[in-house]
């Protein structure tokens, strides 16, 4: 056919298709005229067009998985290389751009909606599993009608590729078997049956760490294939190829069509164990039919002679044809495998003398009896081992799109979650001061783990668009790097509290800490009020005069929208207190704070945030430093909200002032555990050390924390250790830097007085007291002035100021009792009287606060 004729044919073909059928004959007759050949070709093509049906419509090999490949994205997953492909489904490596991690995504090939639904249900069920030897399911999704499962991305090789043809060494086989048994036992204890334990479903990492894949999934993924082949025992089509790999592990009762059970998993474990020890599966057959027969007739190959008897016995028990004779669950297999006797290999029989052989058999029999007696007895599921206190850091939630608009909301969620988690007993939660240093940074969780001294890290990202809230969260073990739990939520913004509660419950479950039975009442039901509250709190945290001021209308809006919103009242009080304390000591702020506190406490008498603020608000010079009341308030706050690192630090501070120094250091420790990187905590520790007159420890603290700028701590320590010159250089440099610092001038006065420069010392005393006017904590200056006068020999002046210091909030008996700078006064009766008074006050406080 010439090109011109072909063109005519094709044009006529299209032209006639465009006409209604009844006009086609006329059209064809006109077009072809006498060209019978063209007419015949056209007729054939038009007829073919009608008959072709779906000819060639489906690409060779079935429809391509449109989701899979070509660097496509699926939500926030960027699909990468194919890791595996098969009848069960396709597995791709993918990059989770939100959570910045590599994952594996498995797509299901079956399009049967009910099979897909079963898969989703099972995967959801299995996604609750949390075990170091189980591959974690992060997420179950659905795209264009395909169910897909997002899993932990594992590196390593499938066990089937690792086993040499003559089997693994006894040691390696036992190590893998114990890990697999551990994993399956964990699942069985939670009512989950694996259904498809086989060597290709076990991944071995380079370090020999084993992970079991596809809990409850793979059989579902291949449901249609698996059951068909299994029941008939025949393989007639390509689909049955899917069965062949699995068939060798199938328990006889499954082949007879009974449902999977823990005992069928135990059977598969027996097959796996045997495979590891020998290099091949115990049941063999050239065709599925033969293989099925071998299993049903329990014709299995022998184990090599070097296998310890008890281990062979375990394999035998697992492969009992009668399911009721097998260990009931994997936990029993796990226990049996734990017996140390298994680790002793018997010499190969050929190498054994008669005596040895007799001995070997006797040994094996004894061991077998031991195992039989000790292990094969039913027992309760093991209780969760009481471990060391678990520690977790909640990293600031990140925004999906990286916008900062919702920053306050992200921070608020983070803070709420910290609070919520901190209520769980046996869980140490790192406080916001320390975690927020990582805000907006791409961090390595292992590094975070080391820096904060925590085992677990929670990270996540949030997106808010309109009324919807999307959140991803994952819990990572920083030691192993494994994900213990991960989830993705898409909820109404109104559900934010339920969401937080859910996450904190999931984490508690994942970490196996006690679930808090109690209060999960949301702080408000008005989402608009909550939003305003979060914005207000966010500004309060910024801690600058302008942000504190901008927080006021927002918090007012929150309580106007929901007058019953106790937490917002407390936040208001905290904001006023900060303004009062940090920027504007006019008393109307203090008054406003008290009013807000009253409202908050009337609504919620135990509200930790309110007690914390009240404790801090009242513990001031103008209130006469009510130590006891302030301590009670803060203790109450901590009882309700243990993660309040700031409250621990504050408590340490008060204790340090009143001479409860061991208590102070204990609180500092608590604060440091919560906020390991907070400098303020270390200053409080330093004060407690100073008041214990532990100068060496103080200077060690300084060495360890060169970033601490606290000359008022180092100065006395250096002086007490005779390093006056060093102290002087430091203090002089510090004064240049902070010429308005009252305490530094007091310290300088002491230095000068001890050097005999009385005139300049007197000048410094004057300046330090001037600068300290109106300061809440002028009592520290007063103490230094007293010490300076003591050095100058002016005992009466010294005592005037010391008496004021103790009366104005600083009755620190243990400090004054040993303070070397007060030594010139010790034989003075007025000093002794004063010290006795301070001691009595100290004793009384100790009693009251015990």
């Amino acid at each position: 056919m010439t090109p011109a004729r072909w063109r005519r044919l094709i044009d006529a073909f299209h032209a006639s298709l465009e006409r209604p059928p009844e006009e086609r004959d006329v059209f064809l007759a006109e077009t072809c005229g006498a060209d019978a050949e063209l007419r015949a070709a056209l007729d054939r093509m038009l007829a073919a067009h009608e008959q072709a049906g779906d000819f060639l419509d489906t690409p060779a090999g079935g429809p391509p998985d449109r989701l899979a490949g070509m660097g496509k994205t699926l939500g926030h997953y960027e699909l990468g290389a194919c890791l595996g492909i098969g009848g069960m489904g396709h597995v791709y490596q993918a990059y989770d751009s939100e959570l910045r991690r590599t994952v594996a995504i498995k797509f299901m090939t079956s399009r049967d909606p009910s099979a897909q639904e079963r898969l989703r249900r099972e995967a959801r069920h299995a996604s609750g599993l949390n075990h170091p030897n189980i591959c974690i399911i992060h997420h179950i999704g659905d795209a264009e009608g395909h169910a897909y499962i997002v899993m932990e991305h594992l590196t390593g090789r499938p066990l089937c590729e690792v086993i040499p043809s003559d089997g693994l060494s006894l040691e390696t086989a036992l190590s893998y078997a114990r890990q697999v048994a551990d994993a399956v036992a964990h699942a069985h204890e939670r009512g989950i049956v694996h259904r498809d334990i086989k060597s290709s479903n076990v991944m071995v990492g380079v370090d020999g760490h084993v992970k079991v894949l596809d809990f409850g999934i793979s059989r579902r993924m291949g449901d249609a294939f698996a059951t068909k082949g299994a029941r008939t025992g025949t393989a007639t089509s390509a689909d049955d190829a899917a069965v062949v790999g699995t068939l060798g592990y199938m328990a006889p009762e499954l082949l007879r069509g009974q449902p999977a059970s823990p005992r069928s998993d135990v059977w598969a474990m027996g097959v796996l164990l045997s495979e590891m020890l020998t290099g091949h599966r115990p049941f063999a057959g050239d065709t599925p039919f033969e293989l099925t027969s071998a299993i049903l007739e329990n014709r299995r190959g022998p184990l090599p002679s070097g296998i310890p008897g008890p281990l062979a016995a375990i394999v035998g028990r697992c492969l009992s044809e009668d399911a009721s004779r097998r260990p009931a669950t994997a936990a029993l297999v796990k226990d049996a495998l734990a017996a140390p006797v298994l680790d002793i290999p018997l010499p190969r029989q050929g190498a054994m003398g008669v005596r040895d052989r007799a001995f070997g058999w006797a040994g094996a029999m004894v061991a077998l009896l031991f195992v039989a007696g000790a292990v094969w007895t039913a027992r309760e599921a093991p209780a969760i081992a009481p471990g060391a206190p678990r520690s977790i850091a909640v990293l600031p939630f990140q925004s999906f799109g990286g916008s900062t608009e919702d920053d306050y909301f992200l921070d608020g969620m983070t803070e709420s979650l910290i609070t919520d988690l901190a209520k769980r007993k046996d869980l140490l939660v790192i406080g916001r001061n320390s975690v927020f240093q990582y805000k907006g940074e791409a961090v390595d969780v292992r590094q975070v783990g080391q820096e904060l001294g925590v085992r677990y890290v929670l990270e996540g990202s949030v997106q808010r668009s309109g009324d919807r809230l999307r959140l991803n969260a994952q819990l990572i073990d920083t030691v192993t790097g494994y994900h213990l739990w991960a989830d993705r939520y898409d909820r109404d913004a109104d559900d934010v509290f339920a969401l937080q509660d859910d996450i904190s419950r999931k984490i508690a479950m994942a970490l196996e800490v006690a679930l808090d039975p109690g209060d999960t009442k949301p702080p408000t039901r008005n989402i608009e009020a909550y939003d305003a509250y979060l914005q207000g709190v966010y500004l309060t945290w910024q801690d600058s005069p302008s942000s504190n001021e901008r927080a006021i209308p927002l918090l007012e809006k929150a309580v106007a929208l929901d007058p019953g919103f106790a937490l917002a009242h407390a936040a208001m009080a905290a904001n006023y207190r900060q303004i009062f304390h940090n920027f504007d000591p006019t008393r109307h702020w203090e008054e406003k704070a008290h009013v807000a506190l009253q409202k908050a406490l009337a609504l919620e008498p135990d509200l930790p945030e309110a007690h914390h603020t009240r404790g801090m608000l009242t513990w001031t010079l103008s209130n006469g430093f009510p130590h006891e009341a302030a301590i009670q308030d803060i203790r109450r706050a901590i009882a309700g909200k243990p993660s309040l690192g700031e409250a621990h630090r504050q408590l340490c501070n008060i204790y340090a002032h009143i001479g409860l120094l061991d208590e102070a250091l204990a609180e500092c420790d608590a604060a440091r555990r919560i906020d390991p990187t907070a400098v303020m905590v270390r200053s409080a520790t330093g004060m407690a050390l100073l008041h214990q007159n532990r100068y060496g420890d103080l200077l060690a603290l300084r060495e360890k924390n060169p970033e601490m700028y606290t000359p008022w701590l180092w100065g006395p320590a250096l002086m007490a250790l005779g390093r006056e010159r060093e102290a002087r250089e430091m203090v002089e440099a510090a004064i240049v830097k902070r010429p308005q610092d009252s305490g530094l001038h007091g310290l300088n006065a002491l230095l000068l007085a001890r050097a005999g420069e009385n005139v300049r010392a007197q000048e410094m005393i004057g300046r330090s007291l001037d600068l300290g006017k109106g300061l809440g904590h002028i009592h520290h200056t007063q103490h230094l002035v007293g010490a300076a006068y003591a050095a100058m020999g002016r005992k009466a002046d010294a005592l005037d100021w010391l008496e004021r210091a103790s009366a104005e909030g600083f009755p620190c008996f243990p400090y004054f009792e040993k303070d070397p700078f007060l030594d010139p006064l010790r034989d003075d009766p007025r000093f002794q009287r004063w010290l006795r008074g301070v001691k009595e006050q100290w004793q009384e406080l100790r009693r009251a606060l015990a």
């Binding site: 070509m70 290389a81 009848g87 390509a238 049955d240």
Partner: protein, 183 residues
């Protein structure tokens, strides 16, 4: 001289008009596709079923840096679809031969061919005939059927409108169907 060239580099050179790069690309892609298809065909991985179009996509993902632009991608798919056609047809030819000799064909089970039975050997012959008459139509069939691409992707690849691709496809399909019925 002997430094192995990456598929990405070859694709890019080809895209810039280096025809030789295109020629050198073919054996690389073919080797990879062939090797991987063969492992399915030999049933080295039990339970794994060959899906040619998926294989093409995966080969792309494996061999090509995903930063290449869409033109390079099209070229790759053009090459890979052709390769896939050759592999499948060769395999089918082997099967025909085996059947003639009365051998048991175990390979069948490894290869999941189209739902409706299509004789790939005859389709291949017909497609070669079609290519002589209308290269673009034959190309569209190759990309759609062996490469698994959508109309839109094919249109993008060939630089024509989707409507044109659909018209060509309809004609090619009718012609091929008629041709296969005849013989």
């Amino acid at each position: 001289m002997n430094t192995p060239e990456s598929v990405t580099e070859l694709l890019q050179a080809w895209g810039h008009g280096d025809q030789d790069a295109g020629r050198r690309l073919v054996p690389l892609v073919y080797k990879d596709l062939r090797r991987r298809a063969a492992s399915f065909l030999r049933r080295e991985s039990p339970g794994h079923i060959l899906q040619p179009t998926a294989l093409v996509h995966e080969t792309y993902l494996r061999m090509v840096d995903q930063k290449v632009d869409w033109r390079n991608r099209s070229q790759f798919f053009g090459v890979a679809s052709q390769m896939m056609r050759r592999i499948l047809v060769d395999h089918a030819r082997g099967r025909h031969a085996a059947k003639r000799h009365g051998m048991h064909v175990a390979l069948d089970e490894g290869l999941r061919l189209p739902q409706r039975h299509i004789d790939l050997v005859r389709l291949d012959d017909a497609l070669t005939e079609l290519a002589a008459l209308d290269a673009r139509q034959a190309r569209i069939v190759e990309l759609r059927f062996f490469g698994g691409l959508t109309f839109e992707e094919v249109a993008e690849m060939l630089g024509v409108s989707t409507a044109t691709v659909k018209r060509d496809w309809a004609a090619a399909r009718a012609w091929l169907f008629a041709r296969l019925e005849e013989s």
